[in-house]
Subunit: 307 residues, 2 copies
Amino acid sequence: MAGTRRTTMSDVARASGVSRATVSFVLNGTANQTISEATRDRVRLAVAELGYVPHSIARALREGASRIVVLQVGGLPRGHALESFIDGLDEELAAAGHGLLVSYGDRSLESTGTLLEAVSPRAVIDLPALYSRPDRDVADGGWIDGLAAHAMTQVSFLRSRGHLAVAVAEPNRPDPVVALLAGHVRAAARELGMPRPRSVRVGETDTTARRLRAVTQDHRITAVAALTDDLAIAILAAMTDLGLTAPKDLAVIGFDDTRHGALWRPALTTVHIDARAFGRRAARNTLGLPADDTQPTPARVIQRASA
Amino acid sequence: MAGTRRTTMSDVARASGVSRATVSFVLNGTANQTISEATRDRVRLAVAELGYVPHSIARALREGASRIVVLQVGGLPRGHALESFIDGLDEELAAAGHGLLVSYGDRSLESTGTLLEAVSPRAVIDLPALYSRPDRDVADGGWIDGLAAHAMTQVSFLRSRGHLAVAVAEPNRPDPVVALLAGHVRAAARELGMPRPRSVRVGETDTTARRLRAVTQDHRITAVAALTDDLAIAILAAMTDLGLTAPKDLAVIGFDDTRHGALWRPALTTVHIDARAFGRRAARNTLGLPADDTQPTPARVIQRASA
DNA sequence: CCCATCTACTAAATCGTGTTAGTGGCGCTG
DNA sequence: CAGCGCCACTAACACGATTTAGTAGATGGG
């Protein structure tokens, strides 16, 4: 059992009485090569009988890259949208014979580099980098460009419910991605003629409560727009500790429709994003395939109890 | 820029005036090869100057496997423990020059197989398979074997708080892993002389509430042990809808110390597991390295408000 | 009848590394 | 001084696929 050699292209060639080159041509449907239908059948039969599977490493060595795409997530907020984005990416890549490898590289640059070197992926989608560069292309399927619209959906919902001034809940640690998201929320507020939203930085529960109280000294502020559902939940928890209830004392809206939001009491109102479609588009973009015609459905508000 | 060829071993050999083989011997410290120190230095200098990096694909082709380990997670409950397990695995593998690739393959078997084939990993750690086989080895660093003890920690905490009969919260969909976990909880209860715990299957919030009410008809039941924190939170949500409060009407304990548990009101009491240490041990096991002497710290209860 | 074109293939180079077998030179020993 | 062992290397094959260049034979046009 230990000595069973893997079946290679040479085996197939020998079994079907042709050369290795011919086998390759048949299997890859190489253009500008004429192979008779009879020969094609012989080759395909041999492949089936021997159970031949191409050795991807040999192929990668020859082609210069493996049929794998790496998605670098880094410290991006995890959640529903990211998972859906990954699902969409994976689906479309699989359809094109590629695999997806996700790297949550909080790790040092060196080890991530080693990993990338080891896989030699056909392409790398570096989401944090895409977020921070202003001159990004559409490698992410337009997701990030859509963020401005998503933020507008969130803020204009609050506006339509009669809130004239809002605060924005953001994570404690500084991060370019966070800054970008918060910037979109502020821009949306400005566009709607609302005062510049003050920010509530979310950390430990007690300090969060303190900060929340400080911000709500301004009695014009009647709602909080959170950059993620997790942040929204932290705000709701702080409110409970302060004896406030949503939406009566303060309305709260999240972003990204996570499982936990629906379970919270009061259930969290949030923004749902069709990230799967963005993932599919990102896949087609990175592989250089023609764009699909399916449009991502626009972001929509899931209205529950908290706002 | 496009035409820059990568620097190969031949380049290094030429630059240092030796053969490719010698370069390989020097870089890999091959045994039974005598190379003079002077030559070693010349080679190392050339490597540094040319910025040579070995081509992992070529190496993988030659060696038969890449320096990558794949962790298959499948449908396992995500959470804090899994993340820590992954972190520990990653640390230790990186220290040994290997990379970790995580596959959440809910996907069809075929595409996962293709991905594995494409990477040709040195080893595959298939957690769901490990969970379900009774004759598993210690490829997971003893994590799963520890689960019985973990369940005992959870149940005996409830017992020590005066709860004489408990229910167990488990997910709706049937799954061998779930069955295993639930079995441990039941075994722990039996060992403590408690009646066999009835199960509450957690689905949509309203049906969960209905099932919870049905189970708590039995007034001896005063606590719920949940297989994961997420399930515990779902129970707490259902309790809110039923007008019950924890821990007065029913105590709830989770498993795995997720972020959300601490935020919930009442804050969730849960079991914390040192999964990172299990990850490190798993890494050493799969690579065939001698076992480390660090023992995982035993599971402990994080007592908050809910139990 | 000759040349060109097309069909249906094949031989061999190539990707970059690891490793086995071998080789000249040198010192030492009997 | 033959013979042996040791040192410090090198030549060449192997891994398994892709792709370029080329070649017999059939067909067709003038």
